[in-house]
């Protein structure tokens, strides 16, 4: 008799687990969101406050998920997978492009925007019209980012990689002449171009589609679906178009204001 009751308790426990959204971002009161802290226009920390397109997106999604409090954590490209895996952050909204390899490590909602890789050079530079002109030039390779590989490996353009810890360091090195070009998502470059107007310029020759996704823990399928729903609303109610114009309108970037094709949560 005792054994049967034990079995029954186990049974009811098992069914409870099946519906319990264990550790999902859906319905959490406080959401901890990893963002970039050094990318003007996307995620920038000044005087302890974060601002930028990624921040606006993160705020909107957190609200749609039902969170009453949002905490932002600054992180670099190299931190993203680890922070999600260790559950130090619930979401990553940090110019995080979706790649097949990263899909094996984290779960991606979105993309919330499809950016295009472009190139930033010093204002006086006239010899770079497209990606192929980067041959022989010194190209920034930011740690943890795959953008420079899009040039040197995918397009097989023989640029000389120069390492940097982050994109803001790339820009510093570009301005000071330690390297010749920075190639990555146009919306990352647009922020820097506005920030350092007169010193650097955008080449305006896009050559890829970059899917900027929202990273979640690998186990959170339900949360991923909920984030996708939030992104759809963000485009439908005009919030996305507003935020895009606010942050990238000035840089003369051609922005897309319709919802991107999602990767799917499975």
């Amino acid at each position: 008799m005792k054994r049967i009751f034990l079995a029954l308790i186990l049974l009811s426990g098992a069914t409870a687990c099946a519906t319990d959204g264990h550790g999902s971002v859906e319905g959490k009161h406080t959401l901890v969101i990893g963002v970039k802290a050094d990318q003007p226009g996307l995620g920038l920390r000044r005087d302890g406050r974060f601002t930028g397109f990624d921040i606006d997106v993160a705020d909107y999604i957190a609200r749609k998920l039902g969170a009453s409090k949002v905490e932002f954590v600054g992180l670099t490209s190299a931190d993203r997978e680890r922070f999600l895996d260790e559950r130090r952050v619930d979401l990553v909204v940090a110019s995080y492009s979706i790649t097949p390899l990263r899909k094996t490590l984290v779960r991606f909602a979105g993309p919330y925007y499809v950016a295009h890789q472009d190139t930033l050079v010093r204002s006086g530079e006239n010899g770079v019209r497209g990606v192929r002109d980067l041959k022989g030039r010194r190209l920034c390779a930011a740690k943890g980012s795959n953008s420079s590989l899009r040039v040197t490996e995918e397009r097989e353009v023989k640029a000389v990689p120069v390492e940097a810890a982050s994109y803001s360091q790339c820009i510093d090195k570009l301005v000071s002449g330690q390297l010749d070009a920075v190639s990555t998502d146009d919306i990352i470059l647009a922020g820097f171009a506005t920030d350092r107007a007169g010193k650097v310029k955008l080449v305006n020759a896009p050559f890829t589609d970059e899917k900027m996704g929202i990273g979640l823990n690998k186990d959170d399928i339900g949360g991923c679906e909920a984030v996708n729903r939030a992104i759809t609303s963000m485009y439908q109610d005009g919030t996305a178009a507003q935020a895009l114009t606010r942050w990238f309108g000035k840089a003369g970037l051609k922005i897309t204001t319709t919802v991107p094709q999602f990767e799917g949560c499975h």
Binding site: P100, K103, F207, N228, P260, Q261, C265, H266
Partner: protein
Amino acid sequence: MIITQVRRRAVPRTMPARIRALAAGAALAVTALFVAVSVGLGDARDGLQVIGHDAGPQVVATSDLYFALSDMDAQLANVLLTGREHRLGPGRDSALKLYDQRRGEADRAVLQTFDIAGQDPVGQRTIQSVLDRLGSYERLASQALLLDDQSAHAAGPPPQKVRDLYRQATDLMRRDLLPQAYNLTLESSTIVRRSSEAQRSDILTARVWVALSGLAVIALLVALQFFLARRFRRLLNPALVLATVVSVGLVAASSALLSSTAGHLRDAKEQGFDLTLALARGRAISNSAAADQTRFLLDPARADTYEQNYLDKSQSIAYVPAGNLRTYYQALDRAVVGRKVPLGFLAGQTGPVLEAYRAVQRDDRRLRSLSADGRTRDAIMLRTGSMVGNFQVYDAELGKLIKSRWVVFGQQIGAGDRGLHGWRQALPPVALAIVLLILLGIRPRLSEYR
């Protein structure tokens, strides 16, 4: 004071009253068991209806929307690329006919989609927007076709004016329409996933209630049996024994039924539905990757982007670590030989479909190398010639796989339906029989007190 009163009522003093109380308790427990089994059967039936007959098939139909739209743009690109050489490849007329056919399929798929995703305002807005944009797309497409026809250019990139119109059309399709269509299918499958999980958990909860109430029935019947045996010095009461046996049978059979229905639902979802949908998405993505090859030839200024799109789609179909198309072909060859495609829509597949996909990629390699050597004309002949056939072979293999997964889905749902067959009719008489057997068992004993 109150407690003793309650106790007095709870434990009757006279013998007939005690027998009656135990029997009534048992009959009550049988009623509870009847309700629990009925609820479980209802949940099981609902689950099979929603997943197996309503939402499931509809979602699969919505995936046709993406395919149809994507192929409209592919056919448009084909016509523009061949220009005045109407008989190149499958020919202008057949491409235009296919365009119209896909347009009709898209319309029908929108209707299917509306049934499931149109139930909330977000889905409704998406569908409305798909219909609006489809109208705009068709206007641009017909303008491009007209202008292309007037320019009467040789096969290859059409004049700039046509290219500009096509850019507008294909951007509208690829950046606006296709994403919304794809997201609709994803959202519909989210609805199915969530409802299938809720239904499975309902069924398993019902199973717990069946077990609990069944246990109560059996415990009370055994108690009654013991009580009568001790009082009346008879070893067994045949009617009560029979009631117990029937109850045990009912509990065992209904628990097993609920477990197996939950199992069929899970297998239908995971082995049938999910894989059908993933492969259907893979088929649609494959088709749009093939169109990227045509666009690559059609609009040289954007060739880099179209090539990157093609690599990106190829990686999502069959992922092998590679940084560019050249290394992708090699890595794919190795993976197919070693029968190891770890990720992507073709993950876990072996045999003909992988071989066919490899042939498609081999063609792509030739296409790009011809184009890199400046042999654009040969590249166009290849794209509109033998490549079409090879792609059709691959597409047919995918079609076979999708069909076989859909058969699995049907089998699981069918098995679930068959399992439930007859229960609705059989349950009430069985429950009634148990109650009657209990009455039959205690009646002779009670009459001894008259």
